[in-house]
Amino acid sequence: MKHLLTTEGIDPAQATAILDTAANLKQSLEGREVRKLPTLRGRTVITMFYENSTRTRVSFEIAGKWMSADVVNVSSSGSSVSKGESLRDTALTLAAAGADCVIVRHPASGAAHRLAGWLREAGTSVVNAGDGMHEHPTQALLDAATLRERLGDLRDRRIAIVGDVLHSRVARSNVHLLTALGADVTLVAPPTLLPTGVESWPVTVSHELDAELPSQDAVMLLRVQAERMHGGFFPSAREYSIAYGLSENRLKLLPEHAVVLHPGPMLRGMEIASAVADSPRAAITDQVRNGVHVRMAVLYHLLAHEEETP
């Protein structure tokens, strides 16, 4: 594997290999004195974040460091980006400085793809850490890892993705990955928060959360992305919460074994009730923990093999 840009069209065998690597890494690191592996010694990983992020950037940085790579963080403020340098020039500069892998988050959909094209000659690997409203593949992989831990094989498992699908790269990446792994995905959202063309996605679409909950093995709640909303997508926060928030009463509609996921950062009281977020049914801290192992696995699959001849 050279880049991780999208989960669309991902080979299920490749996805499963990454998830298996992550599970083995997690098991191997459990209870160890030295949480560091020598595998990527001498490789340089640069994170380029053009959008705010805590968990993703920290998670990638820890993942790189636990694999013994040298990790350098670049953010748009405090770098030449604020002087007006283009994404292309910044990327070529970082590649020339010796980056083996660039991890990029950018507000423009497709930024990671463009970057991979510009860096082809340099041979640098690119990981998409979130591009606009398009994709966030490592989030989908860590969600799948968490679901596999709780539910086992995802084939024919029913998973509902609830809320702001329109603005969510997490939803898009999860739809592609979870369906590739054989899961049965239902999107639940008001019509205003569904993207055009959703009819062609390999999913079921519903507007009624209560009707869907009893048959699901997992529910994934999405954050309402106020920063990407310009205009009225729903009448009020309170009304959204009543129709699509996972309250304590709604939790009772789910089967006993069902798992609750949230990619974070969560808005307690909006898309998820505080008591639900803290309940043992929620796997939200597991998601964060697994995020590190999944990103270690991604770096392993990108960097720990012989150069592929193009």
């Binding site: 298996d20 690597t21 083995n24 020598p38 595998t39 392993y300 093999h305 012989e306 150069e307």
Partner: protein
């Protein structure tokens, strides 16, 4: 991930080094040697654990533990130690899948750890295993048991317990077959 099965290739091109019966007798003899050398059945016995290196070292370690329990009446904890992330040749081939690492009950601190592998060749796997072990704790001592030593060492490493010494050409391949993976026991040269 299950390792590739080794029983399926053309049997005409292979030479049998150990039969199924030989493998069983060899494992039994190695168990006796481990009991004798570590004195694990003595009153002041050191705490011995067996750690198999996947894939085929793992079942070998379990078989040795069964024999040791039979001969000495001592239950020796077993575990597995995947060394893939410590290898020095990862960038010389396609991505290697990882295998499970599972420490024996009670860990490895202050234990006499016997590493178990199927074939000792260049010694690079054992070098990686020693590095991996160091990150899991501090054993009192480390020993090495291998079913077959085929020579051609590239590092200053030797085994404490050897099932069979086999002189080989560098180009030949020694395959240990175990029922757990290959539907039969044996050692063949290809």
């Amino acid at each position: 991930m299950a390792p590739r099965q080794r029983g399926a290739t053309d049997p005409a091109r292979e030479r049998e080094l150990l039969s199924a019966g030989d493998v069983a007798r060899t494992v039994a003899r190695m168990a006796h040697q481990i009991i004798e050398k570590t004195a694990l059945d003595a009153p002041s016995a050191p705490a011995v654990v067996l750690m198999g290196i996947p894939s085929r070292g793992a079942p070998l370690a379990r078989r040795l533990a069964v024999r040791i329990a039979e001969f000495a009446g001592v239950e020796v904890p077993t575990g597995t130690l995947d060394v893939t992330l410590y290898r020095d040749d990862l960038r010389r081939g396609p991505t290697r899948p990882l295998e499970a690492t599972k420490l024996p009950e009670g860990g490895v601190d202050d234990k006499l750890v016997v590493l178990v592998d199927d074939v000792l060749f260049s010694g690079r796997t054992i070098r990686a295993a020693l590095d991996a072990l160091r990150d899991h704790g501090r054993p009192r001592a480390v020993q090495l048991a291998v079913l077959v030593d085929r020579g051609h060492r590239e590092l200053p490493i030797r085994a404490d317990y050897v099932g069979k010494n086999v002189p080989t050409a560098r180009t030949e391949e020694v395959h240990v077959l175990l029922e757990e993976f290959d539907q039969r026991d044996g050692v063949v040269l290809r």
